[in-house]
Structures are given as C-alpha cells and as structure tokens.
Symmetry: C2
Subunit: 385 residues, 2 copies
C-alpha cells in the first residue's frame, strides 16, 4: 500500500472579446455571455468594481451599466458600484483586499456569481486576487481599460497585490471567465500610458513574430500620434500572441523558463531605482534596448536588426536612456541581475535575441559589456519625438 | 477581429505516500522525493510548519527532522520551525496567515522551494492557503497527522481559512506537490478525533464502494478499539477513493454537483448550532443517519441497508442523536437546508441513497419527513459503546 500517484488535468476556457461601446444598448456581447452561462434554478449576481481613475473620463458609465442590465433578468446587478483607487496604489493597500472581500460577503456573491472589474492592470490584478481567494474562486470578468491590460495582463491568468513594497508578493494563477476589451477606453489614456503599453507588444514581436514587428514599424508614426485603428490591430495581435503563449506553454509557470521576461531584468531594477517614476512599459523599452545592444556586442544580433529595433522604439516616442542606469554602485542597475537570479530560484536565465523574432536563453551576463551598452545609450540618446 | 477563444489544460500530479516513522534515518521516502525534484543550479529550501497540538505527543520530532536533513544537501532546511495553534482556531485568526507570509518573506522561500506542514486538517488548510497565495504558489508538502486529514482533506486539492466566523470563506484550489501519511501519528489522537475521521470513510463507502463498506463492517470493533492495522486499511482505501474522485470528476469544483457533501447539509448546521462542540465527523455521522432514514421513508433505501448503516455507525461508537436536532425553530436544523441551497448558488442538490454504494441527487426535501427521521433517532438512540 506504499503510494498512490495522483494525476489529473483541469481545463480552462474563456473568450477574449474585442469590441467598442460595450454598454450601449445595441451591443449584446456582454449580455449574450451571461445568457450562455445561465443555468436554470440559479440566480446569478454581478458585482461591479471600478478603477477610480477611469470614472472622470467616462462619467456616463455607471448609468449606462444600470440601464444595460435593467432590460434583462438572467443576472442580477448589484446596485452598489464599488470604486478603488487606480494605479499601483491599488496593489499596495491591504485594506482594499479586505474591502472587496467584505463586499463579496455583504452581497452574498457565491461561486456561481460574478465579479466584474473595469480598470487598468493594477486594479484588475487587485480584483482578480480578491475574487480568486473568495470562496475558493468567484467567477471574474475583466474589462481592461489600458493598452497594457488589453494586450497583456488582462488576457492572462495572473493576479496579485504587493506586500510590504514587494511587487506581486501575494497572488494566484486563476483565469478569468471572460475578457471584454473595449477600445474606446484607450482614447482617454494619457500619452505616457498609451505609449507604455506598446512596449510589451514590441517585446512579444521581438521574441515571437517578425511579421508583427514589421507591421509595427509601418504603423509607428500612427501609433505615436494616437491613431486608434493602428492601436486596435496592435492590441489584438499582441493579445493573440499572449493567449497562444499561455495555452502552448506552461500556463501556471510551474517550470523555470520565462521568455516573456525579455528585457525585464534591468527594467524591474530601473523602476525601483527611480521610485517608479519610470513606468513599467517605459522601463521595458530601455531594458530591451540594453539587451539588444548587448546581444549585438556578443555577436548575436546583426547591426541592421539592432538599428531597426532602436529606431522603432524611438519613433514610438520612447526615451532609451535614464540617468539611473549610470548609478553604478552596489545598488545600481547591475544589482538587478543578482535580484533576477534570486527571483528565479538561484539560476540566472536571460533571453537574448539572435535576430528579430528569435531569442535564445543564456545563463551568464558580462557586466563590462552591459556597462558599454549603457554608455552607448547615454551617448546616442536624443529627445523623444 | 471579434473574439479569441482561450483554452488550455493544466496537468497536476502528486504522489500520496503511506509510511511509518517518516523521519527515521532509515526511511528514505522524503529524501528521495527531494532528490527527484532536485534541479542543477537551484538551491531549494524547506520551511517546516508544525501543528502545536502534535508536538507534546511527538516531542522528539524537531530534533529528528534536523538530524534527517543534516545528512544531505539537495534541500536546505530552514532551521527555525514555525508552530501554529492546532484545531479550528488555526483557521480563525488572520494574524496566522500574516505570520506565515512573513516567514516566506523572511526566509526567501521562492516558487522552487517548499513549505512542509505537519498537522491536522485545520493547520494543513491554513498552511496550504498561505503557500498558495505566496508568490502565486509555493510548492507545499503535506504531512497529515489525523485520520480525517490522512484519508480526506490532506490528499485533496482544497485549502482555506475562516473569515468573520464564516467557514472556509477564503481559500483556493491548489494541489500539494506531495503527501506523506505517517500512520504513527494516529496513535496519539484522542478517541474523538480517531473516531470522527472514520465517518468520512463511511461516507465515501456509502456513495461509492459497497465492498469497502463491508470491510468496515467486519473491522468495526477493531476500529472502535483503536486497532492500527484496521485503521491503516481504512485510511488507504478512503484516500484512494478520494484521489480517484478528484481525478475522475471536477477537481476544482467548477460545476455544481457535489456528491461528497452526502450527509453534510444537517451536519454543517449541527456543528454551528452546538457551537462546534460536536465535531465535524461526529456531525456527519448524525447527518448520514438522518438522510438514510429519510431515504428509507421515501421508499429508496431498503430496511436492511438502513439497519446495516445505523449499526455500523453505532458500533464505531458514534452517537446518532443530539438535542440540538430538536431545536425546531426558525434557526433550527431545517434552516440548514436553506443555507445549503444558498451555498450552492440557489438550487438545492442533495444526494440520497438508493442502496449502499449508490446515491441519486434530489432537489427537494420534505421537512415533515426530516422531523420524523429526527424523532426516530431521538427515540432509538442508546449510549455509544
Ligand atoms: N497580471 C499580469 O499578468 C500583469 C502583467 C503585466 C503587468 N501587470 C501589472 O499591471 C499594472 C500596470 O497596469 P497598467 O499599465 O494598465 O496601469 P494602471 O492600472 O496602473 O493604470 C495607470 C493609470 O491609468 C488610469 N486609467 C486606467 N484606465 C484609464 C482610461 N481608460 N483612461 C484614463 N485613465 C485610465 C488608472 O486609474 C491609473 O491611474 C502593474 O501593477 C503591473 O504589475 C500585470
Ligand atoms: N481541505 C479540505 O478538503 C477539507 C476537507 C474536510 C475537512 N477539512 C477541514 O479540516 C479541519 C478538521 O481537521 P481535523 O479533523 O484533522 O482536525 P484538526 O486539524 O482540527 O485537529 C484536531 C486536534 O487534534 C490535534 N492533533 C493533530 N494531530 C494530532 C496527533 N497526531 N496526535 C494528537 N493530537 C493531534 C490538533 O492539534 C487539534 O487540537 C476542519 O477545519 C475542516 O474544515 C478540510
Ligand atoms: Zn512587463
Ligand atoms: Zn466532511
């Protein structure tokens, strides 16, 4: 009777919809989702949580949602809309997790009911976490409102909050039951958030899809000047690549390979060194530039590919140098390598490009070549367009 | 570009070992597990958490563990052993979750390291929860020390803590990476915990395995008199049935069928009505008796089967009546039906037996027949052996 080997698979499915004006009466997308999920005998509820930063730009939203749900009875709308502060602060305050759990309790949201979150990646991460731990997981629907959350975080399976300043220290892998990307939200982002979200698209193109990279080169000026049609294509293709990556690989990251961390070892450190004044996407743009210069110096990435990458990032409006890169002391950017190694459990793994669309993992990085790459960025940096 | 359907499966595997004297130098089981998991370049750590209620009965445990790990270097033992109070109080105090998370932080336990918990179902539920939410899931190893946790909760995929007195309000579905059932722990349980754990075994036998039921009938006296060999068989077979149930069905309970809740609608309420003086397993014994009497009254369960079930439970030493069953007011036992319906999301589903080993779900329960069944238990109850 020595041992029994348990083994099973759990299947997860969810649709990711691309739409505009989600809550207009003529748009049946969301309601059709609830209708498909309807089960005779169950009165399902929907509790809405808003990113406070979205409301001033979309003041009609609460009334539109109330009107949208008034026409049906497959799902019962909880009349109170809960709002939480937008941005990273949403993930820093443990009281917000408590507040969301208290709301789940107060409105008796059970495992057959829904928590619907409208907001940027930060608020989605917070709400996804609260939903995941309540009743061992309440169904949650994401309505992402930023470029980053529509093309990356919102379509994925992770959630999380910070703990004593440690990023995403608490969190789970739990997929949403549905994602609704409404492009209209993107029109009200400030320029920095519009741009920052694009860098994760450049990242997936660089590691997975040279054709997508070419399309971004063609659209670079339009994207930099906030052309919504160009952005729709970018968000859709980037989301699609993420979705495929998750399904094709290791959705809950049980192994140790993390190709999507391309450009991130220095980016994380740069965000931290600048006290998060540099946004994540902005830092990733710099981090990718740095690792591409490095790959070129070790003879991997050809000059032509390198120049195309630096040009695309600059045309998009990214600044590719920040003085914090040169704070070359024990707490400087190179310390990011050590922290990244620790984060990975003791063994450093960094993806570097052989060509646009093709990366290979390395386990060592030469500090001197990193310093040379930083010097190059410092000397060549011009003002963003 | 309207929608993308995401769809993927995640595979979970873990061994459930049955052993004795897990930490004796001659027992290589645990060390072999760590060796199999070893990856070149990663220094994995193991953080041990103890159920405080186990230590007085097994005072040699900390020294034995230290000695056991001293002989190897595939895994680094964290020298501090953390202890948390045993029993339900472990799940009632949010400060304990914080304390465990702080330890994960303090000792830099990453996603490749282990949290190892030694304790009853309550402490395992707490530690499993803390491990599941730290870094989106640290590998956790369960070493269950009670009958219930060895044959049921410890081999499954759920964890949880209570929130404002609401049982398991917070929790997740996250499998352990391994379970080590050491039968020696069972020898130090008090009689009530020894017995209470048996009732979940009677439950799975009643809904899944008539042969197992017969074996328990044959072993009933031995079990009642704490025969460890009889208990080993029971724990192994019950664990096996649970493991098969999880793998064969709906591991993360996404649907609404819950056959393992047999006998539980009244059990939950009875625990609550007696302020948890009646233990879960004791309440389940009464709940099963009640639902079997009910099934007999509606013409499903034959007299002979009914009598065998009541006899087995009584021979095992269970008391099948409690005065709280007769507190027939708006807060009485029948209120448990309403709460169970709400818990299920609006539709009542109760499994009732047609025969030993064969259950069928119903969606309505006749209150008057429940009252008659309670009256029968009151009138026929004799003192437990
Ligand atoms: N879960 C994941 O897989 C994953 C992946 C990448 C990043 N993230 C996380 O995402 C977070 C960043 O998310 P983000 O980039 O979406 O930014 P954000 O959520 O921090 O939002 C930035 C600001 O934009 C505001 N805002 C949101 N939508 C708006 C709109 N439509 N119009 C105007 N203002 C709007 C917000 O209120 C906030 O002030 C980080 O915490 C990061 O860790 C998570
Ligand atoms: N996660 C699941 O799937 C699941 C399933 C069923 C029950 N549970 C939970 O399990 C909990 C009950 O667990 P339990 O029945 O194991 O009891 P328990 O963990 O509450 O322990 C009961 C008492 O026994 C002590 N103890 C533990 N091991 C001992 C030993 N070897 N010798 C002497 N004393 C020992 C404990 O310190 C405690 O005082 C409940 O909270 C219940 O909700 C969870
Ligand atoms: Zn990123
Ligand atoms: Zn039970």
């Amino acid at each position: 009777m020595n041992s029994i080997q348990q083994s099973f698979s759990v299947r997860f499915t969810y649709p990711v919809h691309f739409t505009e004006h989600l809550f207009e009466p003529a748009n049946p997308l969301l309601l059709n989702f609830f209708k498909r999920q309807h089960t005779e005998g169950f009165q399902k509820k929907a509790l809405f949580i808003f990113d406070e930063g979205v409301i001033p730009y979309h003041p009609q939203l609460p009334a539109a949602i109330t009107a949208y749900f008034a026409t049906q009875n497959v799902v019962q709308l909880i009349p109170e809309f809960i709002t939480v502060p937008g941005g990273e602060q949403a993930k820093n305050d443990p009281a917000l997790v408590d507040r969301l759990i208290a709301a789940v309790d107060q409105y008796s949201i059970d495992r057959h009911s829904y928590v619907v979150c409208i907001g940027g990646g930060s608020v989605l991460d917070l709400v996804g976490y609260a939903a995941a731990i309540s009743h061992r997981g309440i169904r949650h629907i994401r309505i992402p409102t930023t470029v980053l959350s529509q093309n990356d975080s919102g379509v994925g399976v992770k959630n999380g909050v910070n703990y004593r300043g440690k990023k995403n220290f608490l969190g789970t892998f739990v997929p949403p039951v549905a994602v609704f990307n409404d492009f209209q939200f993107l029109t009200t982002l400030d320029d920095r958030d519009w741009r920052a979200g694009i860098s994760e698209a450049v990242k997936v193109a660089l590691i997975k899809d040279p054709t997508f990279f070419e399309r971004m080169e063609a659209d670079a000026h339009a994207l930099a000047h906030r052309d919504l049609e160009a952005m729709k294509h970018l968000v859709h293709r980037c989301a699609e690549l993420h979705i495929q990556h998750i399904a094709g690989g290791d959705p809950f990251e049980m192994g140790s390979s993390r190709p999507l961390d391309f450009g991130h070892w220095s980016a994380h450190k740069l965000e931290y060194l600048t006290d998060f004044e540099v946004r994540h996407g902005e830092a990733v743009a710099i981090g990718m530039a740095l690792d591409c210069l490095y790959a070129n110096r070790i003879g991997w990435l050809a000059d032509d590919d390198l120049n195309r990458i630096l040009n695309l990032l600059r045309t998009l409006g990214f600044s590719l140098y920040h003085p914090a890169l040169d704070a070359d002391n024990s707490e400087g950017i190179l310390r990011g390598l050590t922290e990244f190694r620790e984060h990975l459990g003791g063994r450093l793994t960094i993806l570097l490009l052989k060509a646009i669309g093709r990366g290979v993992e390395v386990h060592e990085i030469d500090a001197e070549l990193v310093r040379q790459s930083i010097a190059f960025l410092r000397e060549t940096e011009t003002q963003p367009v």
